[in-house]
Amino acid sequence: MGKPAIVMEQTLKELMGLRRLVLVIAAGLIPAIFFGAVVWRESFRSGAMSLEMQTHTFVGYFLIFSFIWIAGFYITYMIITSGMDFVSKEEEEGTLLLMVSKPIGRFQFIIGKFLALLITTLLIELVVLFGSILIFWALLGLEPESVRALVGLVFWIFLYSILIVILFDALTIAISTLFKGKVIKTVLTMLLVMLVFGVGPILRMVWPTAYENYHLYYIDPGYHLGNTYVSISEQAISGRMTPQSQAYLGIFTGTYKAGMEELVLAMFTGSSESFDPDIRAMPPSLEQTNYLNPLVSVLLCLVVSAAALGGAKVAIERREVY
């Protein structure tokens, strides 16, 4: 067994403590309970829409819910809170001194921690994905066909999650290795989340022409994640997005041509009044922006992750431990 695997196993034990698991999973399921019990309750009242309509509408909702919450803020928050202190805490508490005197490469130690966080996050995410489906099923009384459609999405959402977990895991480990101060780490983390989820929408709203003309999507992490998500979710049989979801995703990530107008239209008029000729139930689909091939976005995310890990490697190997 390799030495990173030993560190990974130990870190997994720490991260998989029962109390922590219960709390983290419960936190992940709260939005599902809120949306199921309050926000979407009216829309899915029995008999309010056809089965086909129900399935497609809920698939759309679930795709957005998963992108923004489960594979978005929740997963990143979980990674940041768990991984931010991985290295700096060891140094602050003095345990790193003994670790660096042991015959294990410093980067191997980091990789062990990285893998443990990756595995834990993905496992918890899987539980929250299935748990959310169960909660929606129970609270909204979804038909089995709709539930099957949601279950069919899980694999693809999970696949996308691997990318976002790798990215944030690497960035978090890098911040934990490069910086010691709690304040600077918190500020950096907030900036990172802002950069990924906030900069794109603001840029597109404030300066829509520049976003396209100056190819700003290259440096918009939100676009790359959205581009990947759309491409991956389209692989699912049930993964077709409703125009509403496309509008939300367009606003958030720039993957669909959507401004505020489209969002308002989709939100307030797009449920049962209009029909898409393709599926005979929805308003017309929004046009994809297709700025970049999704593979380029995946590659860029992986390159950033590798660069972050590279930075962590250089930092930990040059670090003097007292």
């Binding site: 067994m1 030495k3 030993i6 560190v7 130990q10 720490e14 508490e93 003095g94 345990t95 001194l97 003994l98 670790m99 660096v100 005197s101 042991k102 015959p103 294990i104 490469g105 040059r318 003097e320 431990v321 007292y322």
Partner: protein
């Protein structure tokens, strides 16, 4: 086992370790002594790879310091060891063992054996966070020993321990050295205890080595050619030796021992024997006074201050 050449560590303008050349022989217990801030801990941390040297080089059994092969040879216990407080002692040691390459099946057995050997067997399943300072010191030694290293680097291994704990640890170190041929490089401020175990000693002050050598030589060197003599005819014998001009200073203490400081020790030894035989006096005691580690330390440090 340890060899350094011009090993230097600078922190900005301050030179903590100033070009030291260490040579620690295999199988020996080598003391590393000096006042606070002399550079002992910094040197040890450079040897274990926790910090990097600013200049010079160092090798552990031929492997560059800080490299994984070098660290495989070392077991290191810092003065203030910090552990994962939520782990129980046996789990902690098993984890450390596996990090050092010990198989999972062996690791737990080794952990329990070591805890028993260090009188911590009753606390194997206790959380480390609840350990006293002395127990943590023992655990620190246990984690250093867990992979049966050839070289132990111990920074103040008996600090925070009560006298019986200190004696027990020193006994164990002696046992390790004699029975397992483990090389031990250790620092301590308790010189009287250190003296009982060390074969070699390096004294360091302001980052520089001021004295080094094996203990027998050092004791002789620092004894100042000081001889003790007691016979049945002290006065007569002292008179004869005085006539031959073989000592520069002498006095008799309250227990009737003649103290002589001589510059020609070989001649003095010879003359004492001859005079005792000639006078027919009864020889009760004749020895060369041995300097203690404390004497050596005191003399060296005062010479350093004078310089």
């Amino acid at each position: 086992m340890i060899e350094t050449r011009n090993l230097t560590k600078r922190f900005g303008d301050f030179t903590a370790v100033d070009g030291i050349n260490l040579a620690v022989q295999q199988g020996t217990i080598h003391g590393f002594v000096g006042p606070n801030g002399a550079g002992k801990t910094t040197t040890m941390k450079m040897l274990t790879g926790a910090i990097w040297c600013s200049q010079g080089e160092g090798y552990i059994k031929g492997h560059e310091i800080g490299s994984t092969p070098a660290k495989q040879i070392i077991g290191y216990s810092p003065e203030h060891a910090f552990f994962y407080n939520d782990m129980v002692a046996s789990d902690y040691l098993s984890y450390m063992a596996r990090i050092c390459g010990v198989e999972r099946s062996e690791a737990r057995k080794k952990a329990l054996d070591l805890l028993n050997w260090l009188d911590l067997g009753g606390f194997a399943e206790s959380k480390v966070g609840g350990f006293s300072a002395g127990m943590k010191q023992r655990l620190g030694l246990a984690q250093a020993l867990i992979h049966e290293p050839e070289l132990l680097i111990l920074d103040e291994p008996t600090a925070n321990m009560d006298p019986s704990g200190r004696i027990s640890i020193l006994d164990k170190l002696r046992e390790l050295s004699h029975e397992s041929n483990v090389t031990i490089f250790l620092s301590s401020h308790i010189l009287s205890e250190l003296e009982q175990v060390v074969d070699f000693m390096t004294m360091i002050d302001r980052g520089r080595i001021v004295v080094e050598g094996n203990m027998t030589e050092l004791r002789r060197r620092f004894s100042g050619n000081h001889f003790l003599l007691k016979t049945s005819q002290n006065e007569k014998i002292l008179e004869v030796i005085k006539e031959k001009g073989l000592f520069r200073e002498s006095w008799t203490d309250t227990e009737d021992f003649i103290h002589m400081i001589s510059d020609d020790t070989t001649a003095l030894r010879k003359v004492v024997v001859e005079v005792v035989v000639q006078t027919g006096a009864e020889l009760e005691h004749f020895s060369e006074e041995r300097a203690s580690l404390q004497d050596i330390y005191r003399k060296t440090m005062s010479m350093e201050e004078e310089e």
